[in-house]
Amino acid sequence: MPNKEVIAMDFKTFLKQKRVERKIPVRKFAKLINISPSFLCDLEGGLRNFPLNSKKNPNLFNDIVVALDLDSNEREMMKKLIEESLISNQTITPTLSDYLLKTPSAQQALRRATEANLSNEDWDKIIEAIDKGR
């Protein structure tokens, strides 16, 4: 069952909250993760998507993990929140798009789910079945 707190939180809120909890000011944090202060403010303000193919810092995700000293659960939460923020901004991560491209059955499953208008609760049951089958 998905954690409701995760659904309520978004990436920009997560990023700012974790930084503020650790009392790292904006300029210092920006320097730690090799981006400009204004780019960091754009991310925390939800003005900009997480850059998937950043030329300035291709290791941005890992740099954030290290700078905030995120544990494995927080790391996974941040990854999920980034994906959700990209989807809500009509962008899909390369991981998901690559999987869909090479797995026609997954594409078909999504189409059937859309036609049947599956709810979040219906998907929770499917996810449970997937986790049991692993």
Partner: protein, 229 residues
């Protein structure tokens, strides 16, 4: 944060009349509330953490002027709040709430100017937000930052910039630190007075992480240079 500043009178434009000494006391009280041991040893203030985590002012960084603007905006404080045009790539504006500050770190040519601009904007946020004079934003250009040097004050902007400059000078260069460091480094018996003064200013500038010009103006305002020709 229990420390606040009280206004006893206002100009006809409704700008609060605040004396420099009043601002000095206000800032000293803030620093003691921030850290009861603050004045033990002269040191530079972590202005970024002070603004964000003690004053709890919402501080962001954005590009505030276009490439074509010769006179760049260094910082802005929202006195009432609303949309502010910015020039970040692909983003046209941000929304600032009352008291929020935004600084253009790229327009501030060096760390000293950036630190003073941060302190200056914090001054506006602390002193000018709940006032009745008609100004929605304090837009600060390079000529707004003058380290508290006396100048003719005519407009509402002149007055509030003066308040903010005095606030910033007191915050980054508290009187106690300046006097202590001046006594430590300045040798009144030195034959080459100018060289001795330059050395003193340079040492204080390094310890407090402010520009030599800011130190020189502060020393002058505190009348420490009266015996120095």
């Amino acid at each position: 944060m229990p420390v606040s500043i009280k206004y006893s009178s206002f100009s006809k434009e409704k700008v609060p009349i605040i004396k420099d000494k009043q601002i000095e006391k206000f800032v000293n009280d803030l620093l003691l509330d921030y850290d009861p041991n603050y004045f033990e040893t002269p040191h530079s203030l972590d202005i970024d953490s002070f603004i964000e985590f003690y004053l709890k002012i919402n501080l962001t960084y954005h590009v505030l002027s276009s490439n074509d603007d010769k006179n760049k905006i260094l910082g802005i404080t929202a006195l009432t709040g609303g949309k502010v045009p910015i020039f970040d790539e692909d983003i046209d504006y941000i929304v600032l709430n009352k008291g929020d500050i935004c600084v253009d770190d790229r327009a501030c040519k060096n760390e000293h100017l950036l630190r003073f601009t941060l302190a200056h904007e914090a001054g506006h946020s602390m002193m000018h937000v709940n006032c009745s004079f008609k100004l929605s934003y304090a837009n600060d250009y390079s000529n707004s930052i003058n380290y508290g040097e006396p100048k003719k004050l005519k407009t509402v902007s002149d007055w509030i910039d003066h308040h903010a400059n005095v606030y910033a000078a007191c915050l980054l260069m508290p009187e106690k630190f300046i006097k202590e460091l001046f006594l430590k480094f300045y040798d009144p018996n030195a034959k080459m007075k100018k060289a001795m003064l330059n050395h003193t200013v340079s040492e204080i500038s390094g310890i407090l992480n402010v520009s030599p010009k800011a130190v020189a103006i502060r020393l002058n305002r505190l009348k420490l240079l009266n015996d120095v020709s």
